[in-house]
């Protein structure tokens, strides 16, 4: 009986250790693959992140220009603004005075976006802005 108990205890311990190791591995892999999410104002206050990150805000009125296949516009949270450079076809809901999220990197004072998202809902405001109101 005691032997069975010891065996059960050891098995449970083994399972817990294995699970802990698994969780650690997952969390480690997670930390290398996070995308940070900022608003234009954040970029004033913190050190500019290296590598890719997400940036959310509103598209400033009269700021969209399309040259060739490159679209440039100004993304703002009504406190700070930043010029964004995007190559490709813009989503249907991308328009002035409407929310947009871009993914890419900072090159001197411009944001080079690989990806550009506009939200489904026209009433949408990026949460970063809503929160501060």
């Amino acid at each position: 009986m005691n032997k069975v108990r010891t065996l059960k205890g050891l098995t449970t311990l083994g399972i817990i250790l294995l699970a802990a190791a698994g969780v650690t591995l997952i969390l480690l892999s997670l930390n290398n693959k996070l995308d940070y999410f900022y608003s234009p104002k954040d970029l004033q206050n913190i050190e500019a992140p290296k590598g890719n990150f997400k940036l959310g805000g509103m598209v400033l009125e009269n700021s969209i220009e399309v040259q060739g296949i490159v679209t440039t516009f100004i993304l703002t949270d009504y406190e700070s603004s930043i010029k964004v450079n995007f190559t490709g076809v813009t989503p249907d809901l991308f328009k002035e005075n409407s929310g947009a999220v871009v993914y890419g990197y900072l090159d001197s004072n411009e944001f080079i976006a690989y990806e550009l998202y506009a939200k489904h809902d026209e009433n949408y405001m990026p949460p970063t802005i809503v929160k501060e109101e």
Partner: protein, 627 residues
């Protein structure tokens, strides 16, 4: 008038659900009450469904005094979309959700009610859940609310992006899957409360498989809709809203496999019990994430913190109750020894892998919340995380699935059975090597994992089917078709990721443009009128000559909302889609076009269809067995 009637019926059904919950609880002591239960429960559900039918009627007849219909429908809409507008936003979606819950519960109780204690507990539990969700519907999100005294003359219309047959069918399918898991949940919990010795797994197994089939089809349809309607050219984005649909699917998959073991060998009963609780809790969790808007998603849904709080407390109490019950009563240690290489041992591995997958996705979904709360900085977890986790997992899964085909219940591993898997590995590597030599195709590590996993399943199943003399023994056709579907899906994913290609260009009308791989000629831009939109259509010829493909991508402006949507033009054959999007006119008077060559998309859809087909065949077998 009809609106008030619908509202009244809904409130009436709410009180009947409360009644049958309370009666059900007292029926545990006073057996004579039990005869009342089924009629009350049946009528409560019928009232609920009748109320939903009235809302459909109101939507079809354009009653814009109903606030929900006024803000989500329009008299110019085709009837089909007037109906689907009901589930285009929060209130109506919740009503559909609760109604489908009612349909599942009613069907199950009508089919299974024998006067034993076990089913009384199931009925009580279903009543309680229906009561809670009807209350949520009526008090926080009533779709039948009126606009009085001045009613609008017309409605604000449904979001054009949702005016699509794919999106009209996708949510009901998905919800059927989510709420269908209430049956195994109720069965598992009732099994714990009544301490029933009867095999609860047999009585809910085919219901679980049906819900799983709906969920699989629902996710597949959603993915297909995103592919052709959203115009990104992808089919899966690891967005939170997709992930929370994947969670119950993974858990449902684990549950059906575990139930198969429980009904064949009477092992894993506690485990099936646990999974049956988990799968429904994960479905509810999904509803909470979507409806509360707590996680920033590319899909956006109307959100409201009060609703989120109500849902969260409901889910918390349901899971706390059921998991504590399980912890107290549900755990039985089996003293049986599992033979290595037996069919059940393979299913144990399947369950371990699926649990790992569930855990990883859950972490990916919740991590941004935890991170924001603790470090006050916003992050998102994207595809790289999920791909790294799922890559190795699908390879391991593929290797085990491929090796498991000839395994038998409670029989040990036989060395001779390894021949097919070994041949399959050799063939797989040979094919990949030939692809490299002939076509110069180099796969990334992640693509290789998925490709090898998929082709291993495919080849070893094919070999077993061709070679084995005793075909009858191994042919459980449903399971084979579903696993073949998975194999094809995995190969499709890898090949698509490796071969797909896209280019964006700006062109003037009638001046052919040579790109890296294609010649694109924009013939014309035409303006046309649709029933409730005006549109511009581009006539584009890709690679003029004998193999030319003509495509007509479109941009529509919907009149009521003034919203613009793009209609992608797709030319498909078995191995490749030519996928063309029309962009904006740029400042130099050129049109921007995006051309994608998406390879082996048909493998992905075909794989999902085979999985659904396999599950349905498997369901028929399970039905025959339990009958």
């Amino acid at each position: 008038m009809i609106g008030e009637l619908a509202n009244f019926l809904l409130v009436l059904s709410l009180s009947l659900f409360l009644g049958s919950t309370l009666l059900g609880l007292s029926a545990r002591k006073t057996a004579s009450i039990r005869i009342l239960l089924v009629p009350i429960f049946t009528n409560a559900n019928l009232l609920l469904l009748f109320s939903f039918a009235l809302l459909v009627y109101l939507a079809v007849t354009d009653d814009f005094s109903i606030r929900y219909i006024a803000s989500h429908s329009n008299s110019a809409l085709p009837i089909f979309y007037k109906i689907s507008a009901i589930w285009s936003a929060h209130e109506g979606s919740m009503f559909l959700w609760v109604s489908l819950l009612g349909i599942w519960s009613l069907l199950f109780i009508r089919n299974n009610y024998k006067k034993d204690l076990f089913n009384t507990d199931i009925l009580t539990l279903l009543s309680l859940i229906l009561f809670l969700f009807s209350a949520f519907l009526i008090f926080t999100s009533n779709p039948l609310e009126r606009i009085l005294p001045i009613t609008p003359t017309n409605g604000a219309d449904i979001n054009p992006i949702l005016q699509d047959p794919g999106l009209a069918i996708h949510p009901p399918m998905l919800y059927m899957g989510y709420v269908g898991f209430v049956i195994p949940f109720a069965g598992a919990v009732a099994n714990l409360t009544s301490g029933s010795t009867g095999n609860w797994v047999t009585s809910v197994k085919s219901w679980t498989i049906s819900a799983w089939a709906f969920l699989t089809a629902g996710i597949g349809l959603g993915s297909a809709w995103a592919y052709y309607e959203l115009g990104w050219g992808g089919y899966w984005f690891w967005d939170p809203v997709e992930n929370i649909a994947l969670l119950p699917w993974l858990c449902g998959t684990a549950l059906v496999h575990s139930m198969t073991v429980s009904s064949k060998t009477s092992d894993l009963k506690s485990w099936s019990n646990f999974l049956a609780i988990l799968v429904f809790v994960l479905s509810l969790f999904g509803a909470f994430i979507v409806r509360s808007g707590i996680i920033d998603s590319v899909h956006s849904f109307a959100s409201d913190p009060t609703r989120g709080l109500y849902l969260l407390s409901m889910i918390a109490s349901i899971s706390l109750f059921s998991f504590s019950l399980f912890a107290i009563k549900g755990i039985n240690y089996s003293k049986k020894v599992t033979l290595l290489g037996s069919k059940e041992s393979f299913i144990y591995i399947n369950n371990i892998l699926l649990m790992t997958a569930i855990f990883s996705v859950l972490i990916g979904v919740l991590y941004p919340l935890i991170y924001e709360a603790s470090l006050n900085s916003r992050i998102s977890v994207g595809p790289p995380f999920y791909n790294t986790i799922f890559g190795p997992m699908v390879l391991i899964a593929g290797l085990f699935i491929g090796s498991s085909i000839e395994a038998q219940w409670q029989r040990p591993f036989q060395l001779a059975k390894l021949i097919n898997p070994i041949i399959s590995v050799v063939i797989t590597f040979a094919v990949i090597f030939v692809l490299y030599l002939v076509k110069g195709i180099i796969f990334s590590a992640l693509e290789l994992l998925s490709l090898i996993g998929g082709s291993f399943i495919l080849i070893s199943y094919m070999l077993s089917l061709l070679i084995t003399e005793n075909k009858k023994r191994i042919i459980n056709s449903g399971s084979i078709i579903a696993h073949l579907g998975l194999g094809i899906l995995l190969m499709g994913v890898a090949l698509n990721s490796n071969l797909s290609y896209e280019e964006t260009i700006a062109v003037e009308i009638n001046s052919p443009k040579q790109t890296a791989r294609n010649v694109i000629l924009l013939h014309n831009i035409k303006e046309t009128e649709g029933p409730n939109f005006s549109s511009i259509v581009a006539e584009v010829e890709v690679n003029p000559g004998p193999n030319a493909v003509n495509l007509f991508p479109e941009k529509r402006r919907y009149i009521t909302r003034g919203q613009v949507t793009s209609e992608t033009a797709i030319y498909s054959n078995l191995y490749r889609d030519i996928y063309l999007n029309l962009g904006e006119l740029n400042d130099q008077n050129q049109w921007i076009l995006r051309l994608q060559l998406n390879y082996f998309i048909s493998f992905i859809w075909g794989g999902v269809m085979l999985m659904v087909l396999g599950i349905l065949i498997f369901l028929r077998r399970a039905n025959n067995e339990s009958a």
